[in-house]
Symmetry: C2
């Protein structure tokens, strides 16, 4: 099975790059889909669950309810972990975020990290913001840093090596000022050639 | 002018990648050549000069001699700095190491970082070692770490951002278990496309 994991700074275009790589290579694409499966399994609201998983929110539900279903953040992350491993064993796929590069280390995925400078991330976030969102650059910067802080600390649960350390990855791509679609064919070719060399 | 800078961990194959990129793209290649020019300018022995520049050795020469020629490590690095800027303004080129990515920041070079895991770096160093060198893996690891420590602290003279921080670079390539020549065409194509987009 060929697996590509895409880790990404918020606003760097990693999600778009992951989706386009999957399309280019004819691989399955998993991102929010992972939360959908988990939400269904737990009969929980998907948006609410995603917020808990990404931001390490404390579950604001009664202790009795939480105990009945054995729900807490690490339990939810462990269940997500299981779903990621299950999905990745079914078909060639691209998995975005969720520490998949560490969770699937033994399956030798091609591990990509996508990042950009703050100005580019702010510009990208602004161009994709819902119409009713009116954040200043300062507020957007704060939001970007907050989301990445959450990703960083979630990743630390699976890996002794820091999220931002390049040695976790096969390739790290700086997308500052780059239109994502222009780099898709070349990144896809690099990943495919790496996967061929490493899965004989 | 199109400039590619290659920063690299010792033993990662960065020098080979830089040379092959220059050949592939028909660019000039500067690495040791920079020290040659500086050694000629100062009438100093090249090997000796390189050792001082890379390892931050204290100059073991008489104070009078050093004062006459205004020689000290930071002065030598400043002179090297000047040579790098001069060479980079003459023709399209690949420059390996020497903090060129920071020194030439205003010229918008395509900045590449090449790294690998310790096992790969040890294997590469062993395969290229002179016949009379018989270092154990532990000794090789110590040597690799020492050289990179020197590069790290030299880089800190030119840049507030750490040498190993990916935000210094457009692309970071992990060469663990990779035969360098297999990735040359694809890295060359990526660099060229980036340079075309960023130097209109």
């Amino acid at each position: 099975m060929s697996i590509i994991t895409v880790s990404r700074e918020f606003g760097s275009g990693g999600r778009e790059l992951g989706k386009r790589l999957a399309d280019e290579l004819g691989y399955a694409y998993y991102d929010r889909e992972i939360v959908t499966v988990l939400a269904e399994k737990l009969s929980m609201d998907e948006t609410y669950l995603e917020r808990i998983l990404e931001k390490k929110m404390v579950l604001p539900i009664s202790l009795t309810y939480a105990q009945t279903f054995n729900l807490n953040n690490s339990n939810l992350l462990a269940q997500q972990h299981g779903i990621i491993r299950e999905l990745a064993s079914q078909e060639d796929c691209v998995i975005v975020g969720r520490g998949a590069n560490a969770i699937l280390r033994d399956r030798k995925p091609f591990t990509l990290f996508v990042y950009a400078d703050m100005a580019s991330k702010i510009a990208r976030c602004r161009s994709r913001a819902p119409e009713q969102e009116h954040l200043t650059d300062k507020e957007l910067e704060r939001k970007i840093k907050l989301v990445d802080k959450g990703r960083e600390s979630n990743f630390a649960l699976f890996s002794p090596v820091a999220w931002h350390d390049m040695c976790n990855y096969q390739l790290c791509v700086n997308t500052s000022g780059t239109e994502i679609k222009t780099i898709v064919p070349i990144i896809a070719a690099y990943a495919q050639s790496w996967l061929e060399r490493n899965h004989i």
